[in-house]
């Protein structure tokens, strides 16, 4: 949603990419947003990778005798259950930690898939113009007339629930975000001196597109992919919430929220914990994307 105001300036950010690489890294580390939000995401990745080691309990282990225990610090809490338990006696913290696995898998794979689809279409539309551009632009317009949540539910309902369907749905819906921005970027870059020079030197069109223009669109793309990861985490949560994502024995944040909604008066923490995780994660991806954009965009640095 934030790309509305984002990416126009980067068109000016031309210049050969290799010279800027070292200063780009330094600029990245100088951005507190990149350091903090990036650090949080690295932490989430570690939690997902080492979930069996880190989680204090088996996320599926039911113990009806210790059902709806409150989080540590509240009256009636039991040691070892830091965030309490749900109505089936399952440890909320362990389920939260295991929930990072689905959330991050969807975030990375779906954002990459949407970016790939949208970037290829955007590059061709922006570079070749004419009929190619007309078709891609019309497709984007039609796509944007669908309510995204409804379309994602529809696609998952058609393909059958599961992580794969969720990823496909996100890629099919959100490629337009990339296509729009990359198209505009490519149009601006195609007029730049270095492209004209490459053309005069006799480089082929595809070589110019992928070796000259793509690297210069890359910084903008990187920021967009990061923002898209946050969006993907939300879409997965929405689909789990509606009951269409993965099967109910895999812990997901959206599934936990839906379950917590049923018992919100008896055990609000089952609802609150995954909601807080969702809030922090989408905020982190967003801040990281914003930080990346600032760091990699020479115009904004000034």
């Amino acid at each position: 949603m934030a790309e509305v105001a984002l990416n126009h300036d980067a068109a000016v950010a031309a210049g050969p990419p290799k010279l800027r690489r070292r200063s780009a890294l330094r600029a990245l580390l100088a951005q507190p947003k990149v350091v903090f939000a990036g650090g949080f995401i690295v932490l989430l990745i570690l939690l997902a990778l080492f979930a069996p080691v880190i989680a204090p309990h088996d996320p599926l282990d039911q113990d009806l005798l210790s059902g709806t225990l409150p989080p540590a610090g509240f009256a009636g809490a039991q040691p070892g259950y830091w965030l309490g338990t749900d109505d089936l006696g399952r440890d909320v913290l362990s389920r939260l930690i295991y929930g990072t696995r689905v959330a991050l898998t969807v975030a990375f794979v779906a954002a990459f898939a949407a970016a790939l689809l949208g970037t290829v279409l955007g590059l061709f539309a922006g570079f070749y113009g004419g009929a190619v551009d007309a078709i891609v632009s019309r497709l984007v317009e039609i796509w944007m007339a669908f309510p995204p949540v409804l379309l994602s539910i529809l696609i998952v309902a058609i393909m059958g629930s599961g992580v794969r369907s969720v990823i496909v749905a996100i890629a099919i819906i959100d490629w337009t975000r990339f296509a729009r921005v990359v198209r505009a970027e490519t149009m601006a870059q195609a007029k730049a001196d270095y492209v004209v020079a490459a053309r005069v030197l006799g480089f082929g069109r595809l070589a110019i597109l992928f070796r000259e223009i793509l690297p210069n669109v890359a910084p903008v793309l990187l920021a967009l992919v990061t923002l898209e990861m946050g969006i993907a985490v939300i879409v997965e949560a929405i689909l789990s919430f509606v009951g269409l994502s993965v099967s109910s024995d895999t812990p997901t944040w959206g599934g936990m929220i839906a379950q917590g909604r049923q018992i919100i008066y008896q055990a609000w923490w089952v609802f609150a914990a995954p909601l807080a995780a969702l809030f922090a994660t989408v905020l982190a991806f967003n801040q990281l994307g914003d930080g990346l954009r600032r760091a990699l965009d020479p115009v904004m640095q000034r």
């Binding site: 105001a5 007339a145 309510p147 409804l150 509606v242 909601l275 989408v282 991806f285 967003n286």
Partner: protein
């Protein structure tokens, strides 16, 4: 000049809507899962299923089904809902007013909230800007789905400030003649009902409004600071106009057009957001009906709903284009 470009846009809008119709139709026809079998359950005989398929026209070839559906749309007929056994147009007519009211209230909240924070931020000029930007950063990142759930917990369960679900207290029998409960209660002077309806709307409307307010704050604040550097503002300042009047009067008038042009698409996102937000609050609009329609494989209802959403999106985009053109003095006199 302006008229011809508007006609061109209207034609493009019709083409887009046709594209939406084609795609939703194709999507639903490749879908596995027989809606008829889902409807009558496992005990049905093959003849029963066949006769129902024929009743809903599902035994016809793809193209024939599509032509029949298109011809129906042109006559204002969207078929019969498979899961609710009712005319789709009738169902939409019943549910659409609730969604429209919610969206209009949410837009109003977003514009008032976003506008006043942007004006305040410009007026403070630097002081407190850090706090506004930090809050705005959170508002820009967090989507309506998460806000809605946070409100359920904090405002609904902890504080019990607002009712958690529905559109109006079920113990009230309001006898409304239109579907626009809020507007009707205001125009007929039944303000106790207005209060109840607004209380039910508060959380979903705020959840939908926050992302739009965030983008308005960011873009309007930039547009206002730029407008404040223009000569006509300097002239007004020399004449002794107060700072707040400079911003809210002179600068605002020139910042609204560009802001609308850049925030336009966000208004359609708000409409799309009603699907999940209505679901969370069991608000009886077309959004919550849409999720049930998909889960029940109710093909005629899904088709009708997607078409209505598509038409709404396209109409909003057209309206914003017209408004931006009307607000741009160069186009107005050109």
């Amino acid at each position: 000049m302006l008229a011809s470009s508007l006609i061109k846009r209207a034609v493009m809008a019709a083409v887009t809507l046709f594209g939406v119709a084609v795609i939703v139709f194709l999507l639903l026809r490749v879908a596995p899962g027989d809606p008829i079998a889902m409807m009558i359950g496992p005990g049905a005989s093959a003849e029963d299923i066949a006769s129902l398929r024929a009743h809903y026209g599902l035994d016809q070839p793809f193209l024939t089904q599509f032509v029949i559906w298109l011809a129906g749309i042109l006559h204002g007929d969207l078929g019969t809902s498979i899961s609710l056994h009712r005319n789709v147009v009738e169902l939409l007519r019943e549910r659409l007013p609730a969604t429209l009211e919610l969206a209009i209230v949410a837009c109003a909240v977003a514009v008032i909230l976003g506008g006043s924070v942007a004006i305040l931020g410009t007026w403070l000029r630097g002081r407190g800007e850090g706090a506004i930007d930090a809050a705005n950063g959170i508002m820009l990142a967090v989507p309506d789905f998460v806000w809605a759930l946070a409100f359920v917990l904090v405002l609904g369960v902890f504080w019990q400030a607002f009712p958690l679900s529905g559109r109006i207290d079920p113990s009230i029998d309001p006898h409304f003649t239109t579907g626009f409960y809020l507007f009707e209660s205001i125009f007929t002077g039944r303000f106790d009902l207005t209060r109840d309806i607004l209380a039910h709307m508060a959380m979903p409307a705020l959840a939908l409004a926050l992302p739009l307010a965030a983008i308005i704050i960011r873009i309007l604040k930039d547009a206002l600071s730029e407008a404040m550097l223009q000569d006509y503002v300097l002239l007004a300042r020399v004449k002794g106009m107060s700072e707040l009047r400079l911003i809210a009067g002179e600068a605002l008038r020139n910042a609204v057009g560009p802001t609308l042009a850049l925030t336009g698409v966000q208004f359609t996102f708000l409409i799309g957001g009603t699907v999940i937000v209505e679901r969370i609050f069991a608000y009886p609009g077309i959004g919550s009906m849409a999720i049930d329609a998909v889960i029940n494989r109710d093909l005629p209802l899904i088709q009708g709903l997607v078409l209505v959403f598509g038409a709404l999106f396209i109409l909003i985009n057209l309206a914003i284009d017209v408004a931006v053109a009307a607000l741009n003095p160069r186009l107005r006199h050109g």
